[in-house]
């Protein structure tokens, strides 16, 4: 053994460390791969050694190699070994390696659960920190489920360092284990107000991430965030919150109104550009959500645009970029305000920075008008020529097409120009967007009938010069254009001037090098051209030319018949046979043109891409219905679609409903026609436009005709630039003409005429240059108007779409394994979250036997509530409140109904908060009848004599965002809720401090929910709650025999007054002392480091030093404070007793079964035993209780027998063997300190005697 160790340490000296490895790699530049492979072999050897230091070193090197791209997953198990080292140095290396290379598929991850749990509960904060950091990178659903509770506990750790990490990692846990969100959320929310800014920022961060994906669930937090926004000075937090508001405002326009002012103030005041930018962004979001009808917000828009202009003009490219980015958001809703900065944006197009040019391009999209389209596109075309990178050029190309084709070619006045642009774009080399250009050509040629002649001529030229486009077919996407060209020439061949020439061009041998699908179109359209040529020549009785054409086809088509492409081959051979037959007929002088043309007769209408999908189910066809025997539930199914449609706009409803009779259908068709005629969407250029014409069968296809003043021009081959000039000239001319007319007609109104001349021409003045029919795409009758936006089903955030306001159900608790105290519910959260329905709380406080009793009480209570409600009703009627009344339900259902009503109350809280910004007149009235409420609450004690503690003034607990002017009935609702909570606290109190029961979860049966806060003391002003399991830790070092215990106490202000100058003091005993700051006397109190506004609660921690932990301790203490109300301030005090049980010195420590056995074998432990009779609870409940209340962990459990372990803060081991049979529980215990054992057993006994 010794020899081995010596050998190990000698080997160790020759091992490479990370630095040696790096150096070695740098020295072997030529044969790096070879060198590394020898290194990996060395590492494999090192990993085989027992020495953990050697292993850690090897793992560290592997981490480096992983960065260089080497797969190191084979060492996963060794990484786990290093992670479980007891030394921080090695542990850190292990966790780093794990975070770099573990993922969900790594199978050894499941071995880490216990190790991580152990590290999380380590007394060393950096062990915990390292474990949290590592876990955040490789958390799996299993780990998340198993560790959620441990992490949640850490969220209340004493060290802010741990707290902030625990808070952040919760987001990852939520993603992997969405069930944990609801139980953890109250505490997460609590952390928003953590005294440490880092923790607060982490909580904001997590909630923002959550809210970004499912904003509606977080609307109720808006008041809290609003408070943070107006109070925080941390820019990071502010930015996050402001971003969050940006996500929330679209859901709640009232929130936007409330935000505008503080945001505007921030914009004016802040010097941080990042904050300014986010404010502007959110203001934009607000303005978008308010959309219209807010005249006074034009100032805000102006402010935003003005600030953005400053950003864009800044020399800092980053600001310029962001300015443009934000500008594009404004553009969507307020294009006018952006358009005035066109100069600036065009200038950005010339920027040397590609990112900026791309952003400017985005903006251009919204800046075009009929007037400037040509000019802007011309500029872009120049850029296309200059652009060096293909990505940017492709981007330009798509932008040009987007800009021109937007809203159904709304801004194009001259389609000849557009076709020329498209043709010019085909000269781009190496673009990927040939397909896009082709589809535009097809679209325009099909839908704009007037342009077909021109388009066909252009396409014919393209086909003629096809060799220019197909220079490099394989990597060139532009040849797609030929597909369009061939089709257009074929389909509209009647417009061709020289079809023969085009036909010849289409049958050139070089065509065979084109992609198959294009050849297929060539062949098919060659046939169409052939038909046209035949027809043309037959009339002229010149059979020679027609026969030449047939011969041409017969000569050339065999080339295609040999094609490898099936489609080409099939078409070619068909057509070849056809032509041969025609040739025969021609030789017999039979007229065939008519019949050949008939092959291609008929117009093709454009069909919308989604048309097929939108074909509605025909009337009377119910796909779900049984063909033979209709089941009885069919009725309810029929109603289902109605419910869905009811929410939608009536217009949609009309076109969707499938259950209408013939008459109704006809009537609706009429209505629709009417609607279409009146719909401004169907562009009419001038009032004299022709009516929509109804072709039989296509009556619903709206065809728009645009009037024109200038006859169609067909120039030879004009380039797009020429159009620009032509257009200018044309407009000039028109203007001149109009001027003349105006002069003639309106001599008196001269002033007006002048104005129109001097100012820029308005949109409507520009008449299109051509007679254009834009045929809209064909859609099936009764097409479904909206598309369902299918969300990505793989999005992990979908699972987090959880209603957080709903109360927690029993089944939702997190699985508890280590029996660390689990706080789902701290009293501080009662008011805000209502997370535990009253019933479940009761279960936790009393045993099942008492359940019945409680129910009866509840009934009583609900009766009383009804009474109260009547009173409220009176108040309400006076106030004419619009709030819906809580439905009064039967006694039995009342209990179940309680949670939803409380939720609605919360929602109305938000409503109130939102509506209170400009204080509505109704809210001001409310202050008066407050006395009425007082009386109603005063009535409570009389009706509930069995609950004496309820006599305290009811309006003491108020929520944070409750304002004095709050509407009365809301306040009361809230109070009712609170009252219920009160009861439950009192139930808990009855049994003493520790009596608020808690449970853990096992698969077998749900356990009662938990709260580890118990009431320490309370009076009418303040309530002190103490955390059941105070954090206990051992200070290593100087104080060898002294341990410290941290007690967290929540102070809750229940009064309407402000509480300040709170002082906490405890009478020290010999054994236990309150830790006071240096220089303070032994009897001085500790100042509580905060003040409490009405209704607010906060947590303070006090440190006690304890000498001996083998005996329980009781300390008497006093809290003094000043109650400050509007008129007076009084000095008050509250006495309490702090009870330190022996249990509270125990720390839940996991223990392996073999170590446990070893411990018992060692013989150092003294034994004792305990017998409990009449325990009537499931065994796992029993274990859960011991674990939760006495901080034990289960080592092993078999049937009705379990071994448990815990350790005291001073290192005493406590072992239990618990057996149960027939209501009798026997506990054999062993501990190295007999008196501690005796006391722990006494406490155990006490716990179980209570139930």
């Amino acid at each position: 053994m010794a020899l081995k160790i010596v050998k190990g340490s000698i080997d160790r000296m020759f091992d490479k460390n990370l630095q040696d490895l790096v150096r070695g790699i740098r020295n072997h530049k030529e044969d790096e791969a070879k060198y590394i492979s020898t290194c990996i072999d060395e590492i494999k050897q090192e990993l085989k050694q027992d020495n953990i230091a050697v292993k850690a070193n090897a793992v560290c090197k592997l981490t480096y190699l992983q960065m260089l791209g080497y797969d190191v997953s084979w060492a996963a198990f060794n990484i786990v070994e290093v992670m479980s080292s007891s030394k921080f140095t090695f542990k850190r290396i292990g966790y780093l390696a794990a975070s770099q290379c573990f993922h969900e598929g790594t199978d050894v991850i499941m071995l880490t659960t216990n190790q991580i749990r152990k590290d999380l509960s380590s007394p060393n904060q950096y062990d915990t920190g390292v474990a949290l950091t590592g876990l955040s990178c490789f958390v799996t659903p299993d780990l998340a489920r198993d560790l959620a509770n441990d992490i949640m506990t850490l969220m209340s750790h004493t060290k802010p360092y741990i707290r902030k990490k625990a808070v952040l990692i919760m987001y990852k846990v939520f993603l992997k284990y969405p069930e944990s969100l609801r139980p953890a959320f109250p505490r997460l929310k609590e952390k928003l107000e953590d005294p440490d800014p880092g923790v607060q920022s982490a909580a904001v961060n997590v909630i923002c991430e959550l809210a970004r994906r499912n904003p509606k669930n977080y609307l109720s937090l808006a008041p809290l965030f609003f408070k943070l926004m107006t109070s925080s000075t941390n820019n990071w937090v502010l930015i996050k919150i402001i971003k969050l508001f940006g996500a929330l405002t679209p859901l709640e326009p009232r929130l936007g109104k409330k935000l505008i002012e503080p945001l505007t103030n921030l914009i004016h005041s802040t010097s941080a550009m990042s904050l300014l930018y986010e404010c502007v962004n959110t203001v934009i979001a607000v303005l978008i959500s308010l959309s219209s009808g807010m005249p006074n917000h034009s100032a805000s828009i102006q402010l935003c645009v003005q600030k953005l202009r400053i950003l864009i003009e800044d020399s800092d490219q980053n600001l310029k970029y962001l300015g443009l980015l934000a500008m594009s958001k404004i553009l969507k809703t307020h294009p006018k305000s952006v358009q005035s900065h066109k100069d600036l944006i065009l200038q950005c197009l010339d920027d040397k920075d590609e990112s900026i040019r791309l952003r400017a391009l985005d903006l251009l999209y919204g800046m075009v008008s009929k007037k400037n389209l040509m000019e802007i596109v011309k500029k872009l075309m120049l850029h296309v020529d200059k652009a060096e990178g293909t990505t940017y050029r492709d981007e330009l190309l798509t932008k040009i097409i987007d800009i021109c084709s937007q809203s159904n070619y709304q801004y194009i006045t001259n389609f000849e120009w557009y076709i020329s642009i498209l043709v010019e774009l085909t000269r781009l080399e190496g673009t990927r967007h040939g397909h896009l250009i082709a589809s535009q050509m097809l679209d325009v040629a099909i839908r704009v009938k007037a342009i077909r002649g021109f388009a066909v001529a252009q396409m014919a030229t393209l086909l003629d010069n096809a060799h220019l486009l197909t220079g490099n077919t394989q990597r060139n996407g532009i040849c797609e254009v030929l597909y369009a060209a061939a089709w257009i020439c074929g389909e509209f061949s009647e417009h061709l001037e020289d079809p023969m020439q085009t036909l010849e061009a289409m049958l050139r041998p070089k065509v065979a090098t084109l992609p198959g699908h294009i050849q297929a179109v060539y062949v098919q359209n060659a046939a169409k051209l052939f038909a046209t040529v035949l027809q043309k020549h037959e009339g002229e009785t010149d059979s020679q030319a027609a026969q030449e054409t047939s011969q041409l086809l017969i000569d050339r088509l065999p080339l295609f018949v040999q094609s490898a492409n099936l489609e080409v081959q099939e078409r070619a051979s068909c057509i070849l046979q056809l032509v041969k037959y025609i040739q025969k007929l021609q030789q017999k002088n039979v007229e065939v043109a008519e019949e050949v043309t008939a092959l291609f007769a008929g117009e093709l209408n454009p069909v919308a891409p989604k048309a097929q999908k939108k074909v509605p189910i025909p009337e009377g066809l119910d796909l779900d219905a049984w063909i033979n025997e209709p089941p009885s539930e069919s009725e309810s199914e029929d109603e289902k679609p109605k419910a869905v449609f009811a929410k939608e706009e009536p217009k949609h409803y009309r076109s969707r409903n499938t259950e209408v009779d013939e008459k109704e259908l006809a009537r609706r068709r009429e209505v629709r026609k009417q609607e279409q005629a009146n719909n401004p969407f169907y562009i009419k250029a001038s009032p004299s436009s022709q009516k929509v014409y109804d072709a039989p069968g296509v009556e619903h296809i709206p065809v728009v005709q645009i009037d024109l003043s200038v006859p169609l021009k067909v120039p030879g081959m004009p380039m797009s630039d020429q159009y620009l000039k032509l257009e200018e000239e044309r407009q000039q001319k028109e203007k001149a003409e109009r001027k003349k007319k105006e002069k003639k007609k309106k001599r008196e109104k001269r002033g007006k005429g002048r104005k129109a001349d001097s100012g820029p021409e308005s949109e409507e003045d520009i008449t299109p240059a051509q007679h254009v029919d834009i045929v809209t795409e064909e859609m099936p009758e009764n097409a479904l108007p909206s598309d369902d936006d299918d969300k990505d089903p793989n999005d992990p955030h979908r699972a987090l779409d959880i209603d957080l306001d709903k109360p927690l159900a029993d089944s939702e608790k997190l699985p508890v394994r280590t029996h660390r105290p689990e706080v789902l519910k701290s009293p501080a959260e009662d008011r805000v979250s209502e997370s535990v329905p009253p019933e479940t709380k009761k279960k936790s406080s009393k045993e099942k036997k008492e359940k019945k009793k409680d129910k009866e009480k509840d009934r009583k209570r609900s009766k009383e509530e009804k009474k109260k409600k009547k009173k409220h009703k009176e108040v309400e009627e006076e106030l004419l409140e619009s709030q819906p009344e809580e439905p009064v339900q039967s006694e039995e259902t009342k209990e179940a109904a309680a949670p939803p009503t409380s939720t609605s109350a919360e929602a109305s809280d938000l409503d109130f908060w939102l509506s209170s910004a400009p204080v509505p007149p109704a809210a001001q009235e409310v202050t008066v009848p407050s006395s009425a409420v007082e009386t109603s609450s005063a009535a409570v004690p009389e009706s509930e004599p069995d609950e004496p503690k309820d006599t305290e003034p009811e309006d003491t607990k108020s929520s944070k965002h409750k304002k004095k002017k709050q509407k009365k009935e809301k306040e009361e609702k809230e109070k009712k809720k609170k009252k219920r909570h009160h009861h439950h606290h009192h139930h808990g109190e009855a049994g003493g401090e520790d009596s608020v029961q808690n449970g853990t979860v096992e698969e077998e049966e749900p356990l009662p929910p938990m709260s580890n806060y118990s009431v320490l003391a309370e009076n009418s002003f303040i309530k002190m709650m103490r955390e059941d399991a105070e954090q206990v830790y051992d200070i290593q070092g100087n104080h060898q025999d002294e341990s410290k215990v941290v007690v967290s106490i929540i102070f809750e202000n229940k009064s309407d007054s402000f509480l300040k100058s709170m002082e906490f003091n405890v009478l020290d005993s010999l054994n236990s002392k309150l830790q006071r700051p240096e220089g303070a006397g032994p009897h001085d109190g500790l100042t509580v480091p905060f003040q409490l506004p009405p209704g607010v609660s906060n947590e303070a921690r006090f440190v006690f030093s304890v000498q001996s932990i083998v005996m329980p301790q009781k300390l008497k203490g006093t809290l003094t404070f000043i109650v400050k109300s509007d008129e007076s301030s009084t000095h008050e005090k509250l006495d309490f007793k702090l009870h330190f049980t022996c249990t509270s010195y125990l720390i839940t420590t996991p223990c392996y079964s073999d170590a446990y056995a070893k411990l018992l074998e060692s013989g150092d432990l003294k034994g004792s035993s305990l017998r409990l009779e009449g325990i009537n609870m499931p065994f796992h409940h029993l274990l859960a209780r011991i674990c939760f209340h006495h901080h034990f962990s289960v080592v092993e459990r078999i049937d009705s027998c379990a071994s448990m372990y815990s350790r005291s803060i001073q290192g005493h081991h406590v072992c239990l063997l618990v057996k149960t049979s027939d209501q009798t529980v026997s506990i054999d215990a062993k501990c190295d300190e007999p008196s501690l054992l005796g006391n722990v057993l006494d406490e155990l006994k006490q716990t179980f005697s209570k139930c």
Binding site: N51, N57, D71, S201, K320, T391, D1154, K1158, L1160, V1194
Partner: protein, 192 residues
Amino acid sequence: MIKAILIFNNHGKPRLIRFYQYFAEDMQQQIIRETFHLVSKRDDNVCNFLEGGSLIGGSDYKLIYRHYATLYFVFCVDSSESELGILDLIQVFVETLDKCFENVCELDLIFHMDKVHYILQEVVMGGMVLETNMNEIVAQVELQNRMEKSEGGLSGAPARAVSAVKNMNLPEIPRNINIGDINIKVPSLSPF
């Protein structure tokens, strides 16, 4: 959320990579190459934001980077992060490195990748910003380094390792011990 943090030099050699979403090793290398390709061709006086990067992210993601002497620091973030904020964060990170390494240079990053990781862990955790206050970050890093030193660090490891074996704390590191007193045989730990 931050999806990835990459540090590489002017030649595209990675100095630190930290992905907050799983990518296989070869994919990681491809991402580094692509990112380097995108970033390296940009002038120093253009903006620090970059869209694109087909391998990582998508339309919602941006590359935000800074170029210091021979090193590029690239953060890949989604739209929930403030662009200027991340730029500040990179600055904070680099200044922290500078403090911890005393005039940081590329060599420090080359030879102490692990330390750089430990510093980064105090700034960003699981893709979310953990701390932005440089003093706090430096303090935490130093406390941990001190702890490592007190344990002897890697250099003194052999001696420490020997003593560790000798003083093995039995209840903590149990091995090959039969179950005695309690007559239960369970191969693994109970589900608690």
